[in-house]
């Protein structure tokens, strides 16, 4: 079987995903075009050598609809022979693109793939694509649907994470991200977003709140209590009959931020890399997806990580750095507890709580962040993992070459 290598990783900065956010004025296709341009220039890429573009997008409607991957290929002026596919595995979509690209290469059917994702959450808000599990009352009831925040609060309740514990984790994320940003640790991958004339629109992750503290977070109201009281809590509790009430600890400050952004990776075989004079940065060792109980929804990063590790014949001790997507503080804390990880190896440059979670792109972004950090620290192996809507989990293991 062929091996799949990462040749390059680029991402946009993350802009606040609402009116007034720097990237709210930028179309999602333009976010992608910036990255397509960068990828071509940085690698002096003959785009006709690319077989396919796999992009994740969780809200593929409107400007993000109608297969934005193929649209971006053509809009960016890449060779017409490059195909494109858009897929949606909720929050895992960005990493799913990477995994699909790796599998395409490993299978030997394709040689060079662009993988990544895009999400303009400010322009196409979460939920604008509907979905039977949410809007169809019959399906919603059969699945015992509750919003993710209720699941996150349920995890905190079951694990005994109190408000201070999750807030402390959030402050850590802000401090680490702030430091990493100041030290330029993201600069290898970060491509400033420029407008049609080439003027800079945004060149840094603007969501970070370096002054965030336990005291400032303590003033925030729980985000999911009201909707929980309206009925979602009862749905969750019917599934967890041992729990008498849900402790609502998550709020805007310890949950992932709503942001706009995009990320791409160039993934290919050793042969194709050599042919094009590209230097491989890391090998994709293994990847996995799995599913767990859908109402609590957010508990599958650990099982997905274990599944990928088993496939690679590795254990957590063989991994130098972990990127566990900070969908909610309790998700990371639970995965750390389940996998028995050393916190010093986890999300060492902060995560989505500080920088935001552009749904379709995040997976590719955090894998790129992990790779940059492996190189900076001269370490070898990393895992990126995310919790995923519908109770799924995803994980990817990379190893530097």
């Amino acid at each position: 079987m062929s091996q799949a290598f990462i040749y390059d990783a680029v991402r946009t900065p993350r802009g606040k995903g609402k009116k007034g956010g720097s990237l709210h004025q930028v179309t999602p296709i333009h976010l992608l075009k910036n990255l397509f341009d960068a990828l071509r220039e940085r690698n002096a890429l003959d785009t006709s050598q690319v077989d396919d573009v796999v992009l994740g997008c969780v809200t593929p409607v409107g400007e993000q609809g109608a297969d934005i991957a193929r649209t971006a290929v053509l809009y960016a002026g890449w060779d017409e022979s490059v195909a494109g596919v858009t897929q949606n595995r909720f929050c895992a979509s960005g990493l799913e693109s990477v995994n699909l690209a790796a599998m395409k290469v490993m299978s030997g059917q394709e040689d060079l793939i662009v993988a990544g994702g895009v999400e303009s959450m400010s322009r196409w808000p979460m939920g604008s694509d509907g979905g039977a599990m949410i809007m169809d009352p019959r399906v919603n009831a059969a699945m015992d649907f509750v919003p993710q925040g209720i699941g996150a609060d349920l995890i905190a309740t079951l694990e005994g994470f109190d408000r201070e514990t999750v807030d402390r984790y959030a402050v850590r994320s802000q401090q680490l991200a702030s430091l990493a940003s100041q030290e330029g640790r993201f600069s290898r991958s970060l491509i400033p977003v420029r407008d049609v004339s080439g003027l800079t629109v945004l060149d840094h992750d603007e969501f970070i709140k370096p002054d965030s503290s336990l005291e400032s977070l303590a003033g925030l109201k729980p985000s999911f209590k009201m909707m929980g009281d309206m009925g979602f809590n009862a749905t969750a509790l019917r599934k967890y009959p041992q729990v008498s009430q849900i402790n609502h600890v998550h709020h805007a400050g310890n949950s992932s931020g709503i942001v706009d952004g995009s990320a791409l990776m160039l993934i290919g075989s050793a042969e194709k890399g050599a042919e094009l004079g590209l230097k491989p940065r890391a090998r994709i060792r293994a990847c996995a997806v799995t599913g767990a109980e859908p109402t609590i929804m957010l508990t599958a990063p650990a099982p997905a990580t274990r599944k990928a590790l088993a496939r690679a014949g590795m254990s957590t001790r063989d991994i130098d750095l972990f990127e566990i997507n900070e969908a909610f503080a309790a998700v990371v804390l639970r995965a750390v507890r389940e996998l028995d990880l050393d916190m010093d190896k986890v999300n060492v440059n902060g995560g989505s709580i500080a920088m935001g979670h552009p749904l379709g792109a995040t997976g590719a972004m955090i894998l790129g962040t992990a790779l940059d950090e492996l190189e900076r620290r001269d370490l070898n192996t990393a895992v990126a993992t995310l919790c995923v809507g519908g109770g799924m989990g995803i994980a990817t293991i990379i190893e530097r070459v």
Binding site: G130, M135, N140, R238, P241
Partner: protein
């Protein structure tokens, strides 16, 4: 003719629905044929300029005939039936002439759906008339286009509560809700308005047949509605525990129907309707809450050969919570009431309860202030025995103490109308024993009211060994007169309701004793569909009362030389009451700890009853909590305490809220299937004790393929 056809000078046709031999019009095959004829005539005559639909009865149309629906076991039949009605309604709606519903009174279910298919609706402004789609209460949905036309008329979010709760509203309210377009003051005005509208709108058609029609508030994919759809199932299941398919199907019918055109939506509705018609919950609900309840109200449990009667004046002994509540209910039904307590003050306080209820009813416009004043005037608080002298019904509601009850019985019988009835409102003390202190035991009877009396619909009538049939008939008539539902049972310890109810809460305590975590027990209790989980309910009725009753039973049985087996749950109650001083909600401490507005399970429970490492499945717990009640009911039947299935089923649902989806304690067994039930009960008996062992009666019935009819 069920529908008469008359045409006036302007060629406006009035269709008057007036089904012969019925006090109310209903939708059935006969109605369908008449409507078919009427529509065909209209279609055939282009000279007709408009159509008015009205009724020759006091009400418009009361809904579909339930008997036919109840018998349907094939979903295809139900689907075809719904489609046939709807195709008639479409023809009426699209006949090309203006069609006006002149609602001269109550229009429910199919009656309202008929009106919704008209282009304009005018209702007589009669506050007693009811408009609504109550199908959900029988486990069904409106299958005549109601789930489609109502949201198109008033918007999805306004339509859903009416459909999901089956609320019946007055014409005035219907106007503000948008169900109707105008009110009329009398029949002439009603028909005149209808004519005027037809003349002014010669080309009228349904608003949803107009070009560019949009559902008010948007269709199902409108963002505001999508948010609502996301939480609606959770809000619903919070109430229903997912045990009732009808509201779930209503959600689906509205959701899916409001994404497509009306015709397609109507067909979707028929599919969800058909599934419900043949569903066990609908059969359980209709069987018990329609047929059996109607039988009870028609006097199935009343001696038939005794003429109806009405008491002249009611005397109530004891103005506590129960006495005060009985006084209210009696006065509300027009009875003069003497409310007696040991002091004038206490009696006045009892009347104050009625004053508070009257005030609330006036505020909510359920009672006008003149009637409220008259009602309160009918309650005479007193401490004087002599004031009871012309009472021909005495209801004793003093403390549950035999000697006290004996004393007030003798005292009162000495002054009351000697031809009258003496009733004891006791929940547990055997009536025959109490009657032994009476000089007229044949005129002595038990009337077991439930708390709070003004809200609880049931009265359990307990016939003592010597109670005569006339006394029973008079008591029965009284209960119906105060608009409550009577069930009739024979005398035995705990009668029927208290006895079976007790098995539920004690089973919860037994589960705790076996090491099930308290929260897990309570969750299972909720999942049964009972209104309250067992430990919380035991707190409400008080553990000390439960313990007191159990002790009394033990002593009585010992005195009578009967074998007594202590329920395993009692050991828990004993420790809670006698060692831990946690007697229930009133003291703020029971299985729960009560604070201002919240309660939490007492963490100490886990110390006294440590959790097992091998807990039961939730299904095992659910089965125990429900089977134990059903089995005790069968024992009541076997011992002759309960004689009629209707009394058992209605008593269980109205008395203590036995899982209404099941249709009651005996219907639960029917729906499970007697053989399956016996098999499962044997299994439970083997694992959890003799109390689950099926009585011989049940084994015999199962073997002979019988059901509780």
């Amino acid at each position: 003719m069920s529908i008469t056809f008359s045409q006036d000078a302007q060629s406006i046709v009035t269709l008057t629905i007036d089904m012969p031999g019925r006090s109310m019009n209903v939708i059935n095959a006969e109605f369908g044929n008449a409507l078919e004829n009427a529509i065909s005539q209209i279609e055939a005559d282009p000279g007709i300029t408009g159509v008015i639909l009205t009724s020759g009865k006091d009400s418009f149309v009361a809904g579909a005939e339930i008997d036919g629906l109840f018998r349907i076991a094939d979903p295809q039949l139900a689907f075809d039936m719904a489609q046939a009605l709807k195709s008639q309604l479409f023809r009426l709606e699209r006949c090309g002439r203006p069609v006006v519903a002149a609602l001269n009174g109550t229009a429910l279910g199919g009656g309202l759906e008929l009106a919704l298919a008209c282009h304009y609706r005018i209702a007589l402004n009669n506050p007693k008339a009811k408009l609504g789609l109550p199908e959900v209460k029988l486990g069904l949905l409106p299958g005549g286009g109601g789930t489609q036309r109502l949201p198109r008329l008033i918007g999805i979010q306004k339509a859903l509560p009416l459909l999901l709760e089956g609320k019946e509203i007055t014409p005035a309210k219907a106007l503000t809700e948008g169900l109707i377009d105008a009110l009329a003051e009398d029949r002439d005005d009603l028909l005149a308005q209808a004519r005027a509208w037809i003349i002014a709108h010669p080309k009228a058609k349904a608003r949803w047949d107009e070009k560019g029609f949009k559902i008010p508030g948007g269709d199902s994919k409108h963002p505001a509605n999508v948010q609502m759809w996301a939480i609606a199932p959770s809000m619903l299941k919070q109430k229903t525990q997912g045990l009732y398919p009808a509201p779930q199907n209503i959600l689906s019918s509205v959701f899916e129907g409001c994404l497509v055109d009306l015709d397609t939506g109507c067909e979707i509705e028929s599919r969800y309707f058909a599934e419900l018609v043949v569903s066990p919950v609908a059969k359980n609900t209709i069987g018990t809450l329609w047929f059996q309840l109607n039988d009870i109200k028609k006097g199935a449990s009343r001696p038939a050969d005794i003429a109806p009667s009405r008491f002249k004046k009611i005397g109530i002994l004891g103005a506590g919570m129960m006495g005060a509540g009985i006084a209210w209910s009696s006065a509300r039904a027009g009875f003069d009431v003497v409310l007696k307590d040991v002091s004038r003050d206490a009696a006045e306080q009892g009347k104050a309860h009625s004053e508070a209820l009257a005030k609330k009813a006036v505020q909510r416009k359920r009672l006008d202030s003149a009637k409220a004043a008259a009602l309160l005037d009918r309650i005479h608080p007193t401490d004087a025995l002599a004031d009871l002298s012309d009472c021909d019904l005495i209801i004793e509601a003093v403390f549950e103490d035999r000697e006290l009850k004996a004393a007030v019985t003798r005292e009162t019988e000495s002054v009351m109308d000697s031809s009258g009835v003496f009733a004891s409102n006791t929940s547990t003390l055997p009536i025959t024993g109490l009657a032994s202190q009476s000089v007229r035991p044949q005129q002595f009877i038990g009337l077991h009211f439930f708390s709070p009396v003004d809200k609880m619909p049931l009265v359990e009538i307990i016939v003592g060994n010597q109670t005569d049939q006339t006394t029973l008939a008079r008591a029965f008539d009284y209960v119906l007169a105060i608009k409550k539902t009577p069930i009739v049972v024979n005398d035995a310890r705990g009668f029927y309701t208290s006895r079976v109810f007790g098995t539920y809460v004690l089973e919860g305590a037994a589960l705790l004793a076996e090491g099930m975590p308290a929260q897990v027990i309570e969750s299972a209790g909720k999942a049964t569909g009972m209104p309250m989980p067992p430990l919380a309910l035991q707190d409400e009725v008080s553990l000390s009362l439960g313990w007191h009753v159990a002790e009394q039973t033990r002593k009585d049985m010992a005195a009578a030389g009967e074998p007594y087996v202590a329920h395993p749950g009692l050991a828990v109650i004993d420790i809670m009451v006698n060692q831990l001083d946690r007697p229930g909600k009133k003291s703020g401490q029971g299985f729960y700890t009560y604070e201002a507005r919240s309660k939490q399970l007492w963490p100490g429970l886990a110390e006294h009853w440590p959790s097992t490492s091998d807990p039961l499945s939730q299904q095992d717990m659910i089965d125990r909590l429900l089977y134990v009640q059903a089995l005790e009911t069968v024992r009541c039947v076997e011992q002759g305490v309960v004689e009629r299935t209707a009394d058992a089923n209605i008593g269980s649902i109205f008395g203590w809220g036995f899982a209404p989806w099941s249709g009651g304690t005996l219907q639960f067994i029917n729906a499970t299937g007697l053989e399956t039930f016996v098999r499962r009960a044997d299994e439970l008996a083997q694992r959890f004790g003799e109390r689950f062992s099926p009585p011989q009666l049940l084994r015999d019935m199962a073997a002979q393929g019988q059901r509780f009819e």
